[in-house]
Amino acid sequence: MDAALKILSPGLMSSIQDKGRFGFGRFGVPRSGAADPVFLRLGNALVGNDPYEAAIEFRFLGPTVKAEAGSVCIGLAADAAAELTRAQTQEKEHVSPWQTVTLNEGDTLKVMPLSKGASGYLTIEGGLQLMPVLNSTSTYARAGIGGTNGSLLQANDILKLKTKATPREFEKIMNKAPQVSTDLLHVILGPQDDYFSDESVTGFVSNSFKVSSDVDRMGIRLEGTPVNSLPEKGNDLISDGLVAGAIQIPGNGLPIILGADCHLVGGYPKIATVISADLFRLGQLGPGADIKFKSVTLEQAQAKYNDLEKYIETCTHSIQNYYGEGAINLVALHGSNLISGVVDAHSPGHFPGRLEDT
């Protein structure tokens, strides 16, 4: 019998996501994929999977899952702790963010609400048995494609694993868990920055905006000083192509940053587009967050892409064996720089591996 995971409670807007569905623009199919692809990659690294293996994505509130058959090793890629309940003893164990936890048959894992950010992932060692639709298992619920049956995860859904968990003596933990700041997003101006006066563009990159309560995988609506288009241009253009990260300015002047599930074409002018290296930050933007935009060049955007890849590598290399809470692990302590401490002593706010914002 295949190992399987059962969803006891789905959490909020939980869905199966992988890298996304590319190359089907001609059929009007959105790309979907993980809202935070960096967390997905790091979560898969924790359990030894391919970087973009499909995982459970949740928003703000994590799911409660049970090992329905066999044992299941889960990577907790989220700024959230979890509580493991052993079926045999009913003992409860604390699970830290960015560690793996192996559930034996019958054990349950309850993920706590996110302490920050907006998206988290449960990655599954060996991966889930899913039928790709148009080359991806990402859920796009509006058209009923991807995931288990085209819909968001529901209580009592059973997710079968490709393989059983390999027996292990210890879990893994990421000593340098990713630190994601969302207060600054780098953009390249355009494609329709010519719909706005120089003053409007300056206001857009110097004012601060607040994320409204209207946030989902399709887009993030902002509040703040409206960005007015030129009267002769208006806010209605002949629809053109959209990508995640494009920032639309509708008639009320309040920006909408498009997300992974966005439509492929749209008719509002786009003043700027978030660069590839910052797209993962969009997945961590929740209501009330303050953000600013900063305009960069193509070369700067590409340099930031390389920086991000190096940062992901640093986080990945910090994965170590975990001997349980309270156990002394000199290797891990050295790895997280708490003993040598040279860097920290000179710059208290600086943590090794933290990605600089500017």
Partner: protein, 247 residues
């Protein structure tokens, strides 16, 4: 051909033909798309992960890890310079059933009033026009069809509906369309079409293909329900609404 290249972040750009609209624009876009696709298929152009067609523009999406934005843009700039030929496409012709009655047609009366036509005249005009399939976009299988008769052209609703039912046949500006899925939407709803337009298990997941043509046939509510049932249970194949290929 006048064109503009617009930055859409560090991994996508849009090629726009700013002087073109409607059918002429979509045909140019399709030719450019085919050129780029054959370069990709021939192994001459790497790193393109998607192409998105719109009425008068084509968006080229790249894999950011390849770092070849300028190279690809340069190659596409060359392809745009090649002369475009007159349309010689032989697309499919479809006649799709539409029920223009009751709850299926919430904006029909208003459109009739605004165009100073009778409801029957609106139905007659909308259904008998032969529309070009410009491109598929917005939602899976969603066809942008043009051109709508001049007298039926109105801007989008000022306040979009939060919920447009699947199958809704709608108009806005010079275009008409069918919503394959329930979705928010700002177009005026004239009727309902029972034919499914997208299925991920079909060899070509979108029923309609750009370059083809569509007209509509008015059906009663009773016939609509019968067609819907037959299509749902597989007694009727969606391709049965396709007539011979244009030659």
């Amino acid at each position: 051909m006048e064109n503009r290249f617009l930055m859409l972040g560090d991994a996508s750009f849009t090629v726009e033909f700013p002087t073109l609209t409607g059918i002429a624009g979509a045909r140019k876009v399709r030719q450019l798309r085919n050129r780029i696709q054959s370069e990709i298929d021939g192994g001459h152009l790497d790193g393109i992960i998607d192409l998105v067609s719109a009425t008068r523009s084509l968006t080229v999406c790249l894999d950011p890890s390849r770092m070849n934005f300028l190279e690809v843009r340069g190659a596409v700039e060359k392809l745009v310079q090649d002369p475009f030929v007159e349309n010689t496409e032989a697309g499919e012709i479809w006649t799709l059933p539409v029920c223009y009655e009751g709850e299926y047609a919430p904006d029909l009366d208003e459109v009739a009033q605004r165009s100073k036509l009778s409801v029957n005249e609106v139905i007659q005009l909308h259904s008998s026009t032969v529309y070009d399939i410009l491109f598929i976009g917005f939602l899976p299988g969603f066809p942008f069809l043009a051109e709508l008769p001049e007298i039926l052209r109105f801007p989008r609703r000022t306040s979009p509906r939060l919920r447009v039912p699947a199958g809704s046949v709608a108009i806005a500006n010079d275009q008409t369309a069918i919503y394959p899925w329930e979705s928010p939407g700002g177009w005026h709803l004239l009727g309902r079409c029972p034919v499914p337009l997208f299925n991920s298990t079909w060899a070509e997941p979108s029923l309609l293909t750009p370059g083809g043509q569509v007209s509509f046939e008015a059906v009663s509510e009773k016939d609509f329900k019968t067609l819907e049932t037959d299509l749902t249970c597989g007694q009727l194949n969606p391709t049965s609404f396709r007539s011979v290929k244009r030659g």
